[in-house]
């Protein structure tokens, strides 16, 4: 019972410390419309494999059944600074931002087949600051105006999950999600004619929704493992300054992955995840948005262990990924993202602490003049206060 209390204590403390930071996630040109760009609450290890290890990773906020892969309590924190090149009809820009896409604490309940975990992750991010210059006709006279529209924030998810080992081969998991967050939006206008007073307006959009997920991992053979995920997110209530403005449907998620252990050193995985974002289409169009599309995400990646005695010592991880993005910039287009990634990591202090590191280069476009390239560094710090164990897909 004492380890369980310790686990709960660590969980509560970490959630309290980490929540404000995690409310911000990655940003993108393709996160300006809709609810933003979907978050990727994965560990650097999973991100390095393109996300293909995500369904098998107990430290990622994806498949609750994967919690059973943890051999001890683990707490992780992920930081993701990003450098982006934005290409739009009116000009290009080089942007820089940093996000904290994941905080997770999980571990097995000693003496049982149960594993519990809590995670705070990015659900959708809507960070941007747009600057425009235009001419407005005021009182019949054209006046040059400069506008700035900015948004900080987005949606985050808080996951309470449990995994249960049914047998030596099979584990199941369930999770409930509390989807919440807010965007602080601000618009400012200045005029070339000083007779007009520069002004600004601001508002806060807050979101609230719930979701639930069921997961499965199954060791099909000695070297092949399967993972599956079904998740349903209910409507999110959207309030503007505490006044309800609309509800928006959140998607169902279906995920399937297969992981192959080609040798003692090499393992690879391929994962596909489908999300029914089009359920939000009518809600967003009704609010004057550009709608939403279903998304398909496919990731392929692998990990090469350089030192079998110390598998956590600088393994080599590589991955590629394709993903649709749900919210187009221009109505009717289909935004998508390609990315390649690589990473490694190291554990030290008798495996009680570890650092994982990955880099990801992504290309986003939708067939319109809007394009984006993003280089993201994903850094993860994980602590296993009671030692002895490691996550092991």
């Amino acid at each position: 019972m004492v380890p369980l209390l310790r686990l709960l204590r660590v969980v509560v403390l970490a959630v309290m410390l980490g929540l404000p930071a995690v409310l911000e996630a990655q940003s993108s040109l393709f996160g300006v419309r809709g609810l933003g760009i979907p978050g990727r609450p994965l560990t650097p290890r999973s991100r390095a494999t393109g996300g293909s290890f995500g369904l098998f990773d107990g430290e990622s906020d994806l498949n609750p059944a994967a919690l059973t892969t943890l051999r001890g309590v683990s707490a992780g924190f992920v930081l993701a600074p990003s450098w982006r090149r934005w290409e739009a009809p009116l000009g290009d820009a080089t942007l820089r931002d940093s996000r904290f896409p994941l905080l997770t604490i999980a571990g097995p309940v000693p003496g049982t087949r149960l594993a519990l975990g809590v995670a705070v992750g990015s659900y959708a991010d809507r960070d941007f600051r747009l600057a425009t210059s235009d001419t407005a006709e005021l009182r019949g006279v054209p006046v040059a105006v400069n506008d700035t529209l900015s948004s900080l924030g987005g949606l985050s998810e808080i996951r309470l999950a449990a995994g249960y080992t049914l047998s030596a081969r099979t584990a199941v998991g369930a999770a409930v999600y509390w989807i919440t967050g807010s965007s602080r939006l601000d618009v400012r206008r200045s005029f070339s004619d000083s007779s007009y007073q520069s002004f600004g307006q601001s508002a806060e959009l807050s979101y609230l929704g719930v979701g639930a997920a069921l997961g499965l991992t199954h060791q099909l053979s000695r070297n092949i493992r399967l993972a599956a995920l079904v998740r349903s997110d209910h409507k999110a209530k959207v309030d503007r300054d505490s006044t309800r403005v609309y509800d928006v449907d959140l998607p169902y998620t279906f995920g399937l992955g297969i992981q192959v252990r080609a040798s003692r050193r090499l393992s690879a995985a391929v994962t596909g995840i489908y999300r029914t974002w089009s359920g939000a289409n009518s809600d967003l169009l009704a609010q004057g948005g550009v709608g939403a599309r279903n998304t398909m995400e496919v990731a392929l990646g692998g990990e090469f262990i350089r030192n079998l005695r110390r598998p956590g010592a600088l393994p080599i991880r590589l991955g590629v990924r394709y993903s649709d993005l749900p919210f187009p910039v221009v109505t009717g287009h289909r935004p998508r993202e390609y990315s390649v990634s690589a990473g490694t990591g190291a554990r030290f202090a008798q495996d009680r602490a570890g650092i994982d590191f990955s880099v990801e280069q992504a290309w986003r476009s939708e067939g319109s003049p809007y394009k984006e390239r993003a280089f993201t560094v994903i850094l993860g710090l994980s602590i296993r206060p009671y030692g002895l164990n490691r996550a092991e897909p």
Binding site: P81, W86, V377
Partner: protein, 406 residues
């Protein structure tokens, strides 16, 4: 630490270094990007404008706020189309003995008298400007009329004529009376030491000037005397302050109730009330508010003597006696050109913001001239009773941005 341990720790150390470096870099953000809105932007920022006419028959003019002499200068003019004015001054009594100690005084001998008058504004295009100083009875007061003064402006009463330098916009002219001219300012005992004089002008053409008043740059009256001191005499000076000063006009223009009149003498102000909807009070984000007044006739003043019209938002509406803001932050001032024919515009955004919120002030302006009570300028504007010349308030405001638009 042995070499094996060191070798084992190096990768972790390097990663920690990378981690720390990226954390530091990650603290820097640059998010501003060029965009073509409304294509990319969720929502669109829109502005609207509305024109408000004053409330019908709730705009009117009132007179008598500043009396002649209460302002910063006095008007003097001759054959000036705008007005015909004379100025009068009365000084404090000059004693008939000189105080040499706190309790003793001695008789004195008057040597000379110096009188100075400050010219504050004049039309420099008018040449050969002369000031004429005339003795006036010591009993002059606020009941004196133009006819009284004009009747006293005779050669018998002339003290002196003073040339004003053609090149100067403002200056002080002084005359010193002594010897044969000293009797011109002799003060008989019956006058109790009081000197009073009036000021008129002549020039190559009809014109006007503004001269010092009791409030600003008053004229001076200095008597140079000698007093006995043992076997010899000592020079001394007696200076008397101005007790009374004003100007009188040949005729006062009548107030046209169909127009809005600002300035002139009697000094007029105009009160203009505007409708102010609950939307403008509670919801509109004001971006520009302009008050426009349409002259009923060209506004003419003394050349090179700029007059200003001040739009003062009311603090409370008590009609003609309404208190209005004096803060330059909330008032709006417009300079009038020598001849103003076009619409006069006041930017009154700050005043209009006082009409918003839970405790708004009355949506009205008190319009007044500056300098009030001494300028030759008298402006008349159209009112709600003069179709085609009605004032208006142009309000430009921002609509609420649809932040909720996804």
């Amino acid at each position: 630490m042995n070499s094996a341990n060191l070798k084992r720790c190096l990768p972790a150390g390097r990663l920690a270094l990378v981690f720390g470096s990226v954390v530091v870099l990650a603290c820097q953000e640059r998010l501003v990007a060029p965009a073509d809105c409304p294509n990319l932007c969720p929502g669109n920022l829109t502005l609207d404008s509305i024109d408000l006419a004053p409330l019908a028959d709730q705009d009117s003019s009132f007179e008598g706020y500043v009396l002649p002499g209460q302002s910063t200068s006095l008007r003097v003019s001759n054959q000036f189309p705008l007005s015909e004015d004379r100025a009068v001054y009365r000084f404090a009594p000059r004693p008939d003995s000189f105080l040499v100690a706190t309790d003793s005084s001695v008789p004195y001998l008057l040597d000379s008298v110096a009188l100075s008058v400050s010219v504050l504004r004049r039309d420099t295009t008018v040449k050969n400007l002369w000031l004429y100083l005339y003795r006036l009875p010591p009993t002059i007061d606020s009941t004196i009329t133009f006819a009284d003064v004009d009747a006293a402006f005779t050669a018998v009463n002339l003290i002196d004529s003073l040339k004003v330098d053609d090149s100067l916009l403002s200056m002080t002219v002084t005359t010193t009376l002594k010897g044969p001219t000293l009797p011109r300012v002799d003060i008989p005992p019956a006058d109790s030491g009081i000197l009073a004089f009036g000021v008129g002008i002549r020039a190559d053409q009809g014109t006007g000037i503004r001269i010092g008043s009791p409030g600003l740059a008053p004229p001076s009256f200095r008597s140079f005397i000698t007093i006995p001191s043992g076997d010899t005499t000592l020079p001394q000076q007696i200076t008397r302050g101005l007790l009374f000063g004003r100007f009188v006009s040949q005729s006062a223009p009548s107030l046209d109730p169909s127009l809005l009149t600002i300035g002139g003498m009697p000094s007029a102000r105009s009160l203009i009330r505007f409708p102010w909807s609950t939307f403008l009070r509670d919801s509109a984000q004001l971006v520009r508010v302009t008050l426009e007044l349409v002259p009923a006739a060209p506004i003419v003043g003394l050349r090179a003597d700029t007059a200003f019209i001040i739009a003062r938002p009311l603090l409370a509406d008590f009609g003609s006696k309404s208190p209005a803001s004096t803060s330059s932050f909330f008032t709006s001032t417009v300079a009038l050109a020598d001849t103003t024919r076009d619409t006069v515009r006041f930017e009154v955004l700050r005043a209009a913001t006082q009409w918003q919120g839970s405790n708004p002030t009355p949506s009205a302006f008190m319009m007044q001239l500056s300098p009030e009570g001494s300028s030759f300028t008298r402006a008349t504007f159209g009112s709600t009773r003069t179709p085609g010349l009605v004032a208006r308030l142009r309000v430009t405001y921002a609509n609420k941005f649809p932040f909720e638009a996804p």
